[in-house]
């Protein structure tokens, strides 16, 4: 892998441990790459390390070993990617703020224009709730708002932790073309999902994780995410195996 020269996102033997003395490994030796214009989907069972990998790439956590690079520069909590859109698994906003406050804050911070703001409002169909406080909204509405902010341009890197969970069908149908559009515009898009059929429509590279390790990384084109996932996880890896596969997306 020619990680050093990649203009995209590179996980280079990344590990992250938690707990006293780092006794619990959430991620071990993850090496994977996603170039601009590509969509990488992290799949795997609960506890596989998908959310940890995304939080590390967003600069919310520091790696325990290895390093993450974006466009050649190292990503750390003290130097995150400036133009990134991050969608956490759980959407949360300061409860006293209105939807309009939150959106305008993001628009100002990101330097988006009025057209881009309107596009985000349309994506989440947020026009009718702009004046409502976030604490009054259901989790579905919060998810829409969070997704609208994450996809608000300009962004070079999109990190989306289960972006399709909790969305209604209409928002889902508006979101998928926008994700493809952001990738076509040159952004690196990394997401995690359990919804293989929907993700297949994005034709992503698929990285299969289990117990913090990368089992496989290949294109879903022609075969689908479920087939890639099934091949990687069956038969299940023996406990205590070293890194089963260390892949890079083609």
């Amino acid at each position: 892998m020619n990680a050093e020269r990649s203009r995209g996102l590179v996980f280079d033997h990344v590990g992250r441990r938690f707990g006293v003395g780092g006794r619990w490994a959430a991620l071990t030796g993850l090496t994977v790459r996603c170039d601009p214009g590509e969509i990488l989907c992290l799949v795997g069972p609960n506890g596989a390390g998908k959310s940890t990998a995304l939080a590390l790439a967003a600069g919310l956590l520091a790696t325990s070993n290895g390093e993450i690079r974006f466009a050649g520069g190292r990503v750390t909590p003290t130097s995150p990617v400036a133009r990134q859109g991050y969608l956490a698994q759980r959407s949360a906003f300061a409860p006293g703020l209105t939807v309009g406050d939150v959106l305008d804050f993001a628009v100002a911070a990101r330097g988006s224009n009025e057209e881009q703001r309107a596009e985000s409002i349309a994506l989440g169909d947020l026009e009718g709730v702009l004046g409502r406080r976030t604490r009054e909204l259901s989790s579905g509405w919060l998810r829409r708002l969070d997704l609208a902010i994450a996809l608000l341009p300009p962004t070079d890197l999109l990190l989306l932790d289960e972006p399709l969970a909790g969305l209604d069908l209409a928002t889902l149908e508006r979101s998928l073309p926008l994700l493809t559009k952001r990738a076509e515009e040159g952004a690196v898009v990394v997401l995690s999902s359990h919804d293989f059929e929907v993700v297949d429509r994005l034709r992503p590279q698929v990285a299969v994780l289990d117990a913090g390790r990368l089992l496989a990384c290949e294109s879903s084109a022609g075969v689908g995410c479920r087939a890639v996932y099934g091949r990687a996880l069956a038969p299940p890896p023996a406990a205590g195996d070293p890194v089963v596969a260390e892949g890079t997306c083609p």
Binding site: P77, T78, P80, A82, A88, A92, L97, A109
Partner: protein, 305 residues
């Protein structure tokens, strides 16, 4: 405007909007109003009358109450500012924007300081105005000195609270740490300083006890030169030791009021002009500036999920 300045301004605006609609700001205002108004209302009641105290009479009780309550208010409000947003995950939506953690912390600190100062001005301004309207402006400079020192104390405690919240694993731990620090600042350091002052004081003159605690304050007011004359050697001025705690620094600041100064000078037979400006300046500078500086360093490494 530079990128970081505009980011800080954005976060200040967000913080002020959050505070305008939060219960914690309302609770802070309620406590500050109680601290500011209690001396004004309680002193006449003790004398068996209804009405308001004079500004001069309110000074000692204000000093006593504020020295205990303001650090607690500042520490808890500061700890809540960041720890609660780390806890509920809402800070993630800020730091993953092109804001940066330094600007995020700086903006939250500035926003808190502005809001706290505004609430404090409202509470103490209203009580001061009411007492002045009832009895005139006698004692206003002393009251203003105590109130200004109280504001410095409150802001330094707020910075310390933010520092505790910046790296704490959860809101409860941040509040716990704030309570422990409050106990240390208000009681433990005070007790240790008192013991140190008593232990290092020169042999008492014949008039011991005649002026209450003023003998203990004598070396503070007279400075190192006079202590040399006392045979005190190279022992650092107790004023420097008092700078170890913002609460004691507040009490030292209250001595700057003209009435306190003249009473002390009368008691000690000293001319005015021996105010320990260096410990006051350095002490307040460090207590106001150091906590946010360390807080930024801590927040840059904090785990946010």
């Amino acid at each position: 405007m530079s990128a970081i300045a505009s980011s800080v301004t954005l976060v200040i605006g967000r913080e002020l909007r959050v505070l305008q609609r939060s219960r914690s700001a309302a609770a802070t205002l309620a406590v500050l109003l109680a601290v500011a108004w209690m001396p004004a209302l309680v002193l006449p009641l003790r004398a068996g009358t209804l009405g308001l105290a004079t500004l001069s009479d309110a000074v000692p009780l204000t000093l006593a109450i504020a020295g205990v309550v303001l650090p607690l208010v500042g520490l808890l409000a500061g700890a809540e500012a960041i720890a609660s947003e780390i806890d509920d995950g809402s800070l993630v939506s800020v730091v993953t924007l092109p804001i940066g953690r330094v600007a995020c912390f700086a903006g939250k600190w500035c926003g808190r300081v502005l809001m706290t100062a505004a609430l404090y001005a409202l509470a103490f301004g209203s009580s001061c105005a009411a007492m002045a309207a009832a009895h005139g402006l006698a004692g206003a400079p002393d009251y203003f000195t105590v109130a200004a020192g109280g504001l410095l104390l409150l802001l330094s405690a707020t910075g310390l609270g933010l520092l505790l919240g910046a790296g704490a694993a959860g809101r409860l731990r941040a509040f716990g740490a704030a309570l422990v620090l409050w106990l240390v600042l208000v009681f433990v350091i005070d007790a240790l300083l008192l013991a140190a002052v008593v232990a290092t004081a020169p042999p008492p003159p014949a008039s011991v006890g005649a002026h209450g605690h003023t003998e203990l304050a004598a070396p503070i007011r007279r400075g190192p030169e006079s202590r040399q004359e006392d045979g005190g050697g190279a022992t650092p001025s107790p004023a420097w030791w008092m700078a170890l705690s913002p609460v004691d620094l507040y009490r030292l600041t209250a001595l700057l009021g003209p009435t306190s100064r003249s009473r002390l000078d009368l008691a000690l037979g000293q001319a005015a002009g021996s105010i320990p400006w260096a410990p006051l300046g350095v002490g307040w500078g460090l207590w106001l500036g150091l906590p946010p500086a360390v807080g930024v360093w801590r927040f840059r490494r904090a785990i946010l999920r």
